[in-house]
Amino acid sequence: MGEKVLMKGNEAIAESAIRAGCMHYFGYPITPQTEIAAYMAKRMPKVGGVFLQAESEIAAINMVLGVAATGKRVMTSSSSPGVSLKSEGISYIAGSDVPALIVNVQRGGPGLGGIQPSQSDYFQAVKGGSHGDFKKVVLAPASVQEMADLTATAFDLADKYRVPAMILADGTLGQMMEPVELPDSAPKAFDKPWALTGTKCQRKHNICNSLYLKPEELEKTNFERFARYKEIEENEVLFEEYLMDDAEICVVSFGITARVAKNAIVEARAKGIKVGMIRPITLWPFPEKVLRAAADKCKAFLSVEMNMGQMIEDIKLATECKKPVYLCNRTGGMIPSPEEVLAKIVEINEGGDR
């Protein structure tokens, strides 16, 4: 590891991607992720990589598909409305079984929405977000260090399972600076016998395609793909537990709101309230087992989100509705304050909000 430097979250993603061996970036500008593209524009020519500002988000994601088919590490980044435009291409990437990284630095929506931070693309990220039977690995960083670390993780998981991976961040994490230590180690190498690299007339040619006109074949590829998803669900769940040992109230929150919730939890603990947090780091696969176990110990859950309550549905599923799940939320670019979260924790502790 190198020395600690102050970096914006967006820049940390870009630098980490280059260090992870990503030599191809395709994008189209949009606030609040622009620093990723700007950083790539500056760095890629110096490291022999490709930075290309496409004519649209749709063009960019299809360029990503093209490079992904050759087995090279490739990424794009955008913010909410831009990611919607990319959704067709993401489905094609999943359907072609090729690895790629998509970064969504979320802003408020729907529609053109606003440019302030939001988490309202949770459904889009974890529930498919475009047509067809597919999933993508979704990682939710909560610090600038994690913006860097999870970018490398995302490339590794994408390569390992031949799936698209997404970093689901937000405007706050993209714009803020924190100390970050970037890895100096060489990126992990993965065998890619499926890649389109030219046969040199020495092997049978590979095909990268998402079109299957025979339903039996399409069903078979979907079953095979979901067998890989099962492996991901079994092996790749990431989460952080915070003060959960004796917790009676379990806050569930990801990304920047988990940081806000931590402040509130510290305050609530000072008042003698037994509250902790489970912070999903992978949103898919969702940390179901740890939440189900918590449902046997805790009396209530509190989902803290910057949307109208999206992850709360997955919490209810994971906990099998054994205990009430409450919501503390802001939306449209507003960020909940620690005081708001604390007030909700106090209310739940006193048995209110039924």
Partner: protein
């Protein structure tokens, strides 16, 4: 837990974000936990600019400073907006060239520094931000004045290293005011 929550606020072009970054880097190089969060978007383009800086001995939760221990106000709208958010016993630093009214609260320490006027007099008109920051370093022990060279050389870009000395002078002018 020892933490200092600072809000720098003013208008775009005053070097609000730069001053914040300097303070954050100073904390980082002193092995403290730090975070820096700017306002972004339309308000930066001709309107108010602000940034939240937290320097702490403990890991930082929310990077958003809603209730600052220290407010640096470099224009009137910033003071109007944030005066009542400062914690009781907190500190407010005011560019008294640009803000002619006094702080109404009596439960905070207020420092009036004619930073813009000093900067203009000394021929460093773009460095009012660092003059007022110099005063902050003096009055906020958690940040402190010692060891300003290293963080300055981190935040002054490589091709402008000739501006190191004048930044240092600006910090000293504020410190001595």
């Amino acid at each position: 837990m020892s933490a200092c929550n600072i809000l720098f606020a003013g208008f775009g072009g005053q070097g609000i974000l730069f001053a914040g970054k300097f303070v954050a880097y100073k904390g980082l190089l002193e092995n403290k936990q730090v975070s820096w969060l700017p306002s972004y978007g339309p308000e930066m383009r001709g309107g108010t600019a602000n940034c939240s800086v937290i320097v702490s001995d403990e890991p930082i939760g929310s990077p958003i400073v809603g209730k600052p221990d220290v407010l640096v106000a470099m224009n009137l709208p910033s003071l109007d907006k944030y005066e009542n958010e400062v914690v009781s016993g907190g500190k407010i630093f005011i560019d008294s060239t640009l803000i002619t009214r006094k702080v109404e609260r009596t439960d905070v320490d207020v420092f009036y520094i004619p930073a813009t006027e000093i900067a203009n007099e000394k021929g460093m008109s773009t460095l009012a931000n660092m003059i007022i920051t110099g005063k902050l370093l003096k009055e906020v022990p958690m940040i402190g004045f010692d060891g300003i060279d290293a963080p300055l050389s981190k935040v002054v870009s490589a091709r402008h290293q000739d501006l190191l000395e004048v930044n240092k002078t600006a910090l000293k002018l504020g410190y001595d005011y």
